[in-house]
Symmetry: D2
Subunit: 253 residues, 4 copies
């Protein structure tokens, strides 16, 4: 099975990048399954029904998310869509679901969305034990297990990778919006990358207009952040699970 | 001028990697100047005279540092060595210096060491304004300006890159211990990478033995961290400032 | 000189408490000078012209603030009013001023507003050195120096108190919204309290409706916070600088 | 039943304060049960067998703890003592226990130790749901439920108080080392205080020698912290659960 993992897609420019690049990639690389982190799809923060459908239309199979899942109230319209995931280690009372099993092209694939806790300042259960719990449910019932680990700290991301090494087939990190160059198969066989990186405007600070972010760091006064526009950069990780190879795919407009 | 930037070098395995790889790289790539972040040289945390000299002997020109500079008391023996820098935006009363000008192969180069503040939990002055201050001192008196920006948050790193774009010749990030794949020349001409990544044991969590780190995330009980050993990975960024090209160089043992 | 220090006043209920309690206190205790932290005056976050004037009308002399100063854009209408302060250790480019000298009843009083940095996640200069800087300007030119130290960490608050002990006449902490019972004169003579506590609705979580805050801690999903209403609690510190005594004054409706 | 709650006791001076003050208080106030937070008993950080026994000898019934429980390895010698608790919301694999039921003077009392998560940077399960879980076990089997909620953020402490209001008989906060003046019975009947405050040297920064803490805030360089010595301050909360009254008791040497 060939999988394409896409990280945080930022606003209109990010969606344009996906629509412009993804169909060709699916064809050229014979992709079976596409997972995309959508927490920043709607004007940089949150997910609405219309941006969700824009991604589904270009053959994204599952949309994962993270700390921005509930930023826009409109997400409640689609939170029960089986293709939308929010972090599985949100407390049990949170709406939505954190993992699901998908069947496609003859494969059964479990997609799990988890968040790290270091530096995140959020109310979250332990992602390590939550993985154990989910794994007990799906073990032996699926062909592949793929985890979007949405986190800030590199130590927590790599620790998680080793913790689930051999149990998960792919762990791809998201959230920092910067691609890492540490993609590899861990000793137990799990394909791992600390962060896939964002897809959005190239000339930006992690997808956001740079002037306001710089102004905040200089002045200390909160600024209104807007997704940047212009030339895009598309970041993704390609994994061929049968032949066991993997490759970062970065496309600049 | 050809420059090689090396990120956080972790303990004995990291030092072994540098000693095994650097001499050949200097020759093959015709390197004029080597900057290496040494905050983790001494058994994973801090810098001592002996590890400092090990690096100087293999032709590292300048050793920068970060949040771990003062972890080992022995650093005070070398803190006034002109080749050792600590973050320039530590408060003025901190020992050591945060930038210096070096002459080599006919070039005059200013090396500046700064730290970001987001998530760092440290007492630090503003790195943006500190750069402005230092730049006023060195402007017009050096051929090149190189900054080691030691920071956690990708937004602060990229914001800093744009803030000094065209004033600095190179901004290379350190501290996360994971190389990023976003190296490029910014619009104003500054060579930039969010993080060079660590040099140390490959089979590790950011250079540290993985079992203890995983145990800490699972149990909540503080563990003793030790640098990992075994096969090394060497991460660096090569920048040719004359021809304006740059390339990540990653070497696995 | 008799001084009354009032901490964070929360929304409509807090303003009602001040208006109901302050006039009598001023008369009974023969108060010369009233300082009030106003960062939560306007519906729990920020300051507008109308709430500012409500406080001035009941004889508040100076309104200090903190991390919420700029939450409502309307603050820009009054930011240059000489009676409104924002933290002095915001970066120099921030609008407004961080200290001012006031003359009243024959006394010249400097009021300084500073913020601590631990756990605040804000871009701030060093409050210790900023005090030194301001003190050099006002030294010998005023009768009294009063500091609102707006901060989270008790260690930073107490460290600051000792640092300025004998130079400042009063250091009163704000921000945690809970009064502390550690008011006293430090060895050098500075009247000190870690936090004056909030003035607002008694049946609340730090002045805010408790249901939403509890829901956030349980569910992990961000909630809309509203200032609580109902019976008020008024917290303040009274300091008689001539006779050198001080007393917390807490009034429940 | 009359209960005395003592917060973080700091090093030798704190132990001296307890030994000098507690026996008289027990007699004068007819105390049935004493709970003391011991995370800082052993030279400011951690707990050893000898300091544990010093406290037991002066009739402390239960010793709770917090983020410093495991700072000294010697704690493992006593971690299974039934009178020693560590936070119940540490992960399940942590050694020790987070609550226990005690019988004394004809009363059955459950003591629960929990930690808040905001600003704590630790790996912890949800204290709200952990309380629910423990409450299901002890409900109807004990006369009284007392919780030491060890936490930094005032909002989390007060939210917890309301969350367990009527289920717990007493919630006393610890960890900030500064007593708060918000002790009261919540609407549902729970006796509550945000923080009992520390017991230790008065002339100190939260029990620690002030010079090193000030130096850290000024210089940015880590310092060695030592518990302060000299005149002590003893902080506690007295609760009479039968007559439903409560009173902070603060004694200065
Ligand atoms: Fe994101
Ligand atoms: Fe995110
Ligand atoms: Fe490092
Ligand atoms: Fe570092
Ligand atoms: Fe505040
Ligand atoms: Fe406030
Ligand atoms: Fe603590
Ligand atoms: Fe403590």
């Amino acid at each position: 099975m060939n999988v394409l993992l896409i990280g945080d897609v930022i606003g209109r420019t990010g969606r344009r990048a996906v629509k412009s690049v993804l169909p060709k990639l699916i064809e050229e690389l014979n992709i079976d399954f596409v997972v995309l982190n959508g927490e920043n799809l709607a004007h940089g923060n949150g997910i609405t029904k219309s941006v969700f459908q824009e991604m589904i239309e270009v053959k994204v199979d599952v949309i994962t998310s993270g700390n921005h899942t509930f930023d826009k109230k409109e997400v409640y319209e689609i939170i029960d869509d089986e293709r939308l995931l929010r972090p599985a280690n949100l407390p049990p009372s949170a709406p939505g679901k954190g993992f699901n099993v998908f069947e496609k092209n003859g494969y059964k694939v479990a997609i799990i969305n988890l968040m790290g806790r270091a530096f995140m300042g959020m109310v979250l259960d332990c992602p390590f034990r939550k993985f154990d719990e989910i794994y007990e449910i799906i073990k032996g019932k699926v062909d592949y297990v793929i985890v979007d680990f949405h986190a800030e700290a590199t130590s927590e991301k790599q620790a998680f990778g080793y913790y689930v090494d051999s149990r998960a087939d792919i762990v791809f990190g998201t959230h920092t919006h910067v691609p890492t160059a540490d993609e590899r198969f861990l000793p137990g066989g799990t394909a791992f990358i600390s962060d896939v990186g964002m897809t959005g405007a190239l000339d930006s600070v992690i997808g956001v207009r740079k002037d306001e972010i710089i102004k905040k760091f200089i002045s200390g006064i909160p600024q209104k952040y807007e997704p940047a526009e212009g030339q895009f950069i598309f970041n993704s990780l390609y994994v061929n699970l049968k032949d066991r190879n993997l490759k970062r795919i970065q496309i600049k407009e």
